[in-house]
């Protein structure tokens, strides 16, 4: 990674330097191998290396050859045996030998490095009187990470970064029950890729797919995560306190120490942040199997659900993003006073005007608090401006003076809308279509995650996040053909109002069918758009985007054609039905004009079932076509 230096653990060099010295020492001193010998004999008798606990501690997975193993880390610092990464037996033997080695190496001693192994093996074998190295570093770590409880944390979907759009999971280690504050000081355990700061998000996604990054565990204060997610990225955080016992939490911390600075290959889809968190929980509570549910992909929210299914979750807690808090505050402000919030944030002296003085104290307090929060929200990620700081301070002073009148913050959101209660991440669909008298059946599989007209419970409103959507058609003569394949399909429709000014945007790429020159062609395309969304009333939205498209269509004389266009639509909620109507027009460089009307109606049958009625009208000279389809959708 150019321009980037990893601090190589000094441990490696010291160990190397120590080897000749140790050999000499071993030759001179009577070695305490008797205990390792007996322990090893006991281990052999029970084939201890086959035990689930040992396999999990070594992160071993079955390799291609039956009965063979391969650890998910090939980092030599994680193994005592030279072939430890592929031989759990040899690793166990070498670990026992390491435990019995002379205590002088201190922090580098196997007992200090592999505390979870030691603690498990002590329970399984009679290790005898082992040397007692001074594990000063581990002791210090353990004093810092002084936890008895664990919390699974899910920072919600973040559409503005390809790598975070599915959310994220991490663990928080609490010294006791969270009390609204002390958890700020708790430690967060996060598995992440060691990224090159020069790689952009898109490149990261590609490199991440290929396992091009190393990943490591990171342990840092939770308040930094709060800042990062709630404030910096404006993401809501859901926290799921787990029922791990103090002993299980201890085991987790011990194993965490073993993984300090150990490299794992980082894969975006499967062996990602969420997968490694599951592995930690498997170590914490032996006998749990969480990871085998994720052979292909580990979508963060699915891992949360798996942890729930295994009975580990005992509670649920919501930590709103800065923007969510502000929105809740603003909803409490009477509509006629909302413009005043902005006026006050621009000129706090407005507070002294007679009309504002005349407000009842609670409303005035709410006004000040909203203005302060709004002003600070606009400064997210912006350099400090002395004039803005002055205004902020003035508002803070006013807030302090009237704090007693401030109504309590808006109610917490309904736990029934937490992301773990959303519809399943994958979707199967079967549909019956009629297109100008021709009938066909469609069969669909979508690997992830959510489209706008679908049951939005647990998803951020106005966010469409799809990756890997396949749709086949079976014609009435039995011919099977590709209907569409969306590689990526993202649509972000956040409404603009006087306070919030987000852009709406869309990106989609894949293969789809288009009528051209009186024939339907499979075309490869990439398209994107930028625009704006407004709320009509309640949560019904209208949007418009300017679009650009590149299409490879063999119906054109010159297949590769760029196009510019417009698309606009409506998103309505009507009880269990969500309507998504969209019109679009695109003008190609070769003069072709394509007009499409796509009307989707999605009826929620249950959390994981829906009926979807679609009317798709396409006009591409010389003819226009109307297709009507009814689809049954099942989420899992």
């Amino acid at each position: 990674m150019p321009g980037f230096s990893f601090e190589r653990p000094e441990a490696m060099y010291t160990t190397r330097a120590l080897v000749p010295i140790l050999i000499v020492l071993f030759a001179l001193l009577p070695m305490p191998t008797w205990s390792a010998g007996t322990a090893w004999e006991q281990a052999q008798a029970s084939e201890l290396w086959q035990r689930n606990e040992w396999i999990k501690l070594g992160h071993y997975k079955p390799a291609t050859w039956p009965g063979s193993w391969r650890s998910q880390t090939e980092d030599s610092r994680f193994f005592m045996a030279a072939n430890g990464a592929v031989d759990p037996r040899a690793e166990l033997q070498a670990t026992l030998e390491g435990f019995a080695a002379s205590a002088e190496s201190g922090d580098e001693h196997a007992q200090c490095r592999f505390v979870a192994r030691l603690s498990w093996l002590r329970g399984e074998l009679d290790l005898g009187d082992l040397p007692q190295p001074d594990c000063a570093k581990y002791r210090e770590f353990r004093e810092q990470v002084n936890a008895t409880q664990a919390v699974l944390v899910f920072p919600s979907y973040y559409l503005n970064s390809p790598s975070s759009m599915f959310g994220h999971t991490l663990l928080r280690l609490d010294p006791g029950e969270a009390d609204g504050g002390s958890e700020y000081l708790s430690f967060a355990v996060n598995f992440g890729a060691l990224v090159d700061p020069n790689d952009n998000g898109m490149f990261y996604a590609f490199k991440g797919l290929a396992g091009g990054y190393d990943g490591q565990f990171e342990v840092d204060h939770y308040y930094k995560k709060i800042r990062e997610y709630n404030h910096g990225e404006n993401r809501d955080i859901w926290e799921y306190p787990l029922n791990l016992t103090a002993e299980e939490t201890e085991r987790l911390i011990q194993h965490l120490w073993e993984l300090r600075r150990i490299n794992f290959a980082y894969y975006f889809f499967d062996e990602n942040c969420s997968y490694r968190i599951l592995e930690m929980l498997e170590v914490a509570r032996p006998g749990l199997d969480l990871t085998s549910a994720f052979p292909l992909t580990a979508i963060p929210i699915d891992t949360v659900r798996e942890v729930e299914r295994s009975g580990l979750v005992r509670d649920k807690h919501f930590r709103p993003a800065q923007g969510t808090v502000l929105k809740q505050r603003l909803e409490g402000v009477p509509p006629r006073l909302r413009e005043l919030v902005i006026e006050v944030s621009r000129a706090p002296d407005r507070l002294d005007d007679a009309d504002v003085q005349a407000l009842d104290p609670a409303t005035r307090a709410l006004l000040i608090d909203s203005a302060y929060k709004y002003l600070r929200y606009t400064q997210t990620g912006v350099e400090r401006d002395p004039e803005v700081a002055q205004r902020s301070f003035r508002l803070l002073q006013a807030l302090q003076a009237q704090a007693a009148d401030l109504p309590p913050p808006a109610a917490q959101p309904d736990p029934a809308t937490s992301p773990d209660l959303s519809h399943g991440s994958r979707r199967l669909a079967v549909g019956a279509w009629n297109e100008d008298g021709r009938d066909y059946v469609s069969l669909g599989l979508r690997m992830s995650l959510h489209s706008l007209p679908e049951n939005r419970n647990g998803f951020p409103a106005g966010a469409q996040i799809n990756l890997g959507n396949f749709d086949l058609r079976v014609e009435d003569d039995g011919k099977v053909d590709l209907n569409r394949f969306d590689v990526v399909d993202i649509l972000s429709l956040s409404p603009r109002d006087r306070f919030f000014k987000p852009l709406s945007w869309a990106v989609r790429t894949g293969v789809e069918r288009q009528w051209t020159d009186d024939r339907e062609h499979r075309v490869a395309h990439i398209n994107g758009g930028v625009g704006a969304t407004r709320t009509l009333w309640a949560d019904n939205r209208i949007y418009g985007l300017a679009t650009a498209r590149l299409e490879n269509n063999y119906g054109f004389a010159e297949p590769l054609q760029p196009a510019l266009g417009l698309r606009g639509g409506l998103l309505f909620n009507a009880g269990p039905v969500i309507l998504h109507w969209e019109l679009s027009a695109e003008k190609f460089a070769n003069g072709e004009l394509r007009k499409i009307a796509d009307l989707s109606h999605n009826l929620r049958l249950s959390r994981n079932q829906a009926l979807h009625l679609e009317l798709l009208w396409r006009d591409q000279q010389p003819d226009d076509r109307l297709a009507v389809g009814l689809r049954y959708q099942y989420y899992y």
């Binding site: 321009g3 980037f4 230096s5 990893f6 601090e7 570093k137 210090e140 770590f141 810092q144 990470v145 970064s161 790598s163 975070s164 994220h168 009390d179 609204g180 504050g181 002390s182 700020y184 000081l185 996060n190 992440g192 890729a193 060691l194 990224v195 700061p197 020069n198 790689d199 998000g201 991440g208 565990f217 990171e218 342990v219 840092d220 204060h221 308040y223 800042r227 990062e228 910096g232 990225e233 990602n272 608090d369 302060y372 600070r376 400064q379 990620g381 912006v382 350099e383 400090r384 002395p386 803005v388 700081a389 902020s392 301070f393 803070l396 002073q397 807030l399 302090q400 704090a403 401030l406």
Partner: protein
């Protein structure tokens, strides 16, 4: 390039972390109020990719996180004021909140005394915050002076 430079600065800064005041130079210790999230831009990519740049922080033991909150509770509170300066200040103005509670916890203030701590900070807002250009260090010093003079809270500061 800017990120790279910022990253390099972070690395250099982190090596001297123990020579700095508790909290370290990247905790916003000397920051003025409303400075926002210092170091945030440098970390931005790392965070959006769920990634870590360079040295993965590992508790306090590595000393490479550039923002070490000293384990000793008497200094922990001071460092926390700097670490969450804006959030803490807003909570002081209102008289309650998670950041205020976190600072109390970091000072080692027991649960029974936290309400008193919050009230003390809230009612003395003007004494704590002399202007919008006040630094976290000044606020923490003012806060400790107040605590020392308070019968219930003096035991939490030496």
């Amino acid at each position: 390039m800017k990120k790279l430079v910022a990253g390099a600065v972070l690395l250099v800064a982190s090596s001297s972390v123990f020579a700095e005041a508790p909290g370290g130079p990247n905790c916003g210790w000397g920051n003025m109020l409303f400075k926002g999230q210092s170091g945030f831009v440098a970390h931005f990519l790392g965070s959006t990719t769920n990634g870590t740049s360079g040295n993965a922080t590992f508790g306090m033991t590595t000393g490479t996180n550039g923002c070490s909150v000293d384990g000793k509770l008497t200094y922990g509170g001071k460092a926390m004021v700097g670490a969450m300066f804006d959030e803490f200040s807003a909570d002081v103005a209102v008289g309650k909140g998670d950041a205020l509670n976190a600072v109390a916890a970091a000072y080692g203030v027991s649960k029974e005394d936290r309400a008193a701590f919050a009230t003390l900070a809230h009612q003395n807002f003007a004494a704590l915050y002399t202007s919008e250009n006040v630094t976290a260090e000044e606020v923490a010093t003012n806060l400790e002076t107040l605590m020392k003079a308070d019968a219930q809270l003096s035991k939490y500061v030496i």
